[in-house]
């Protein structure tokens, strides 16, 4: 199924030949790359969303780069004073609860709601402040449309208020190696042991492929 480039902007979408877009293909895992390089994505994989995000190192990043690993992902924003620090703390606790091997394989991804305030520099500072290991944690910012779409596939609701802060669902999502939603932990209380077990299961399931 050729759905990898569904969500390029309309103008790009009109250019049907993937070969006309080598630059986009290089970063997005769009249909330009050799078919043999990877098997087709599962049709439930959120990696079908091929948005290009930007890391806190200023590098382009597509979620499909996480393929093959269990992923613990949450949406957040750095100026969030209430729930987001607790979500990051919960993700840290999930990580602590993993067996050592899985702790190394899993990736912990934070995607910001705040395309205005959460610049590369702000994300960088957040990483330092929270001591998030660059080898394990991925911090991303992106375009408003891509943020809306990712939230939509995850089932995350959010809304910006007049002060520039966001109301949002408190949701931690576990993805398996195919980028399929394996488990979600809703809310701020409990559920950490289940989430950790889900990461292990997701990681083991992905291994055979």
């Amino acid at each position: 199924m050729n759905t990898a480039h569904l969500f390029l902007p309309a103008l790009l979408g009109l250019v049907t030949a993937a070969s006309a877009l080598p630059a986009a293909d290089a970063c997005c895992g769009a249909p330009g790359r050799p078919a043999a390089a990877t098997a087709a994505l599962s049709d439930r994989s959120i990696y079908q969303l091929d948005a290009t995000w930007t890391t806190d190192a200023g590098m382009p990043f597509t979620l499909a780069e996480l393929r093959g690993r269990p992923v613990v992902l949450a949406m957040f924003f750095t100026s969030c004073g209430y729930a987001c620090p607790r979500i990051v703390e919960a993700m840290t606790q999930i990580r602590q609860a993993l067996p050592a091997a899985m702790r190394d394989r899993a990736r912990f991804v934070l995607v910001s709601f705040d395309d205005q305030h959460d610049t590369v520099a702000v994300l960088q500072a957040y990483r330092v402040q929270h001591g998030l290991d660059p080898a394990r944690w991925v911090l991303l910012r992106g375009a408003p449309d891509d943020i809306r779409e990712l939230a939509a596939v995850l089932g995350v609701s959010y809304q910006k208020d007049a002060a520039g802060l966001f109301s949002h669902s408190n949701l931690i999502t576990i993805l398996n190696g195919e980028g399929e939603i394996a488990h979600q932990r809703a809310g701020l209380e409990g559920g950490l042991a289940e989430a950790a077990r889900a990461v292990v299961a997701a990681g083991n399931a992905g291994r055979g492929r």
């Binding site: 569904l6 439930r44 809306r148 779409e149 609701s157 809304q159």
Partner: protein, 297 residues
């Protein structure tokens, strides 16, 4: 509908940023709408639920809105052009199993889905993809509600008992097996039809409603599930249809398809396709015009 369809007005509108113009006589000259769209002048939206810090009224920049919901015939042209959105090929991530289930086939709407009837059983992703394909976008909640807030004769539906009665009657009526034709309803104050009495409609930010759908938790924001200042308040407790829409939207997921859920598209006046839920005052399209903000409904 379109008072100035001439080349000259098009040119004038283009020259002047497609904004509203004041002629020497002081009369307003409207830019020429794209085919099938109507102008929603800049105004305000009064959100139903809001944060303590939010103003009661949110400015909404002027935009174009489809006069009526997108039809099966129009959606057929889209799936003919974009094979990945055909019923047999769509990814379950982007549309559930009932996607276009009322169609006779991949490229055949059939008797249950006449070409002039609103397309339904389409997901948010599909509606969004159609809009992009058409060079448009989905309206935001603020934009849609602003359009739907108008009555037949004025910008405030609440002042018109016959309008409100029709909207309420629709909520209580069952969905017919075959829907009425798109555009068959009366025009509202802005020239749009069928906003409140034909199908529910997707909005771009449908997933902005902080309602859990769990009645025991819906005392406002559920602080455990949602992060916010926690003190939301209702803008207008009597606007029952608006509460219905809020609840309805919050019950949706982006890949859901429903037998009476369709959509229509919007477009920015400035041709910038990015939706603006809350326009930044610093990027106001027409900052110098004092006549942009209509009186609050």
């Amino acid at each position: 509908m379109n008072p100035l369809p001439s080349i000259h007005s098009v040119r004038l509108a283009l020259l002047l940023g497609a904004g509203w113009l004041a002629t020497s006589a002081g009369a307003e000259v409207r830019p020429v709408p794209p085919s099938g769209m109507v102008l929603l002048p800049a105004g305000v939206y009064t959100p139903l639920l809001r944060d303590a810090v939010d103003p009661a009224k949110i400015p909404v920049a002027a935009f174009w809105l489809d006069e009526r919901p997108v039809t099966n015939g129009e959606f057929l042209a889209f799936v003919q052009a974009e094979a990945r959105w055909r019923r047999s090929r769509v990814s379950p991530l982007f549309a559930d199993r009932q996607y276009l289930a009322n169609w006779a086939g991949d490229l055949e709407p059939g008797a249950q889905a006449p070409v002039n009837v609103p397309v339904v059983r389409i997901s948010w992703f599909a509606a969004r993809a159609y809009a992009k394909w058409a060079g448009k976008r989905l309206p935001t909640t603020a934009e849609w509600e602003r359009a739907a807030g108008a009555g037949y004769r004025g910008p405030a539906a609440k002042a018109e008992a016959d309008f409100t009665a029709r909207a309420l009657a629709w909520y209580s009526a069952p969905t017919p097996a075959v829907l009425p034709a798109s555009g068959s309803g009366p025009v509202n104050f802005y020239g749009a039809r069928d906003l409140l009495d034909l199908v529910w409609e997707w909005v771009d930010d449908f997933n902005s409603a902080m309602v859990t759908g769990e009645s025991r938790a819906d005392g406002g924001l559920e602080r455990n599930l949602f992060c916010g200042s926690g003190s939301v308040s209702a803008g207008d407790r009597e606007d029952y249809p608006a509460f219905m829409r809020l609840g309805y939207r919050s019950s949706l997921r982006a890949n859901y398809t429903v037998a009476n859920l369709g959509f229509r598209c919007a477009r920015n006046l400035a041709q910038d396709l990015a939706p603006q839920a809350v326009p930044d005052p610093s990027t106001d399209l027409f900052p110098s015009s004092p006549s942009i903000l209509l009186p609050a409904p």
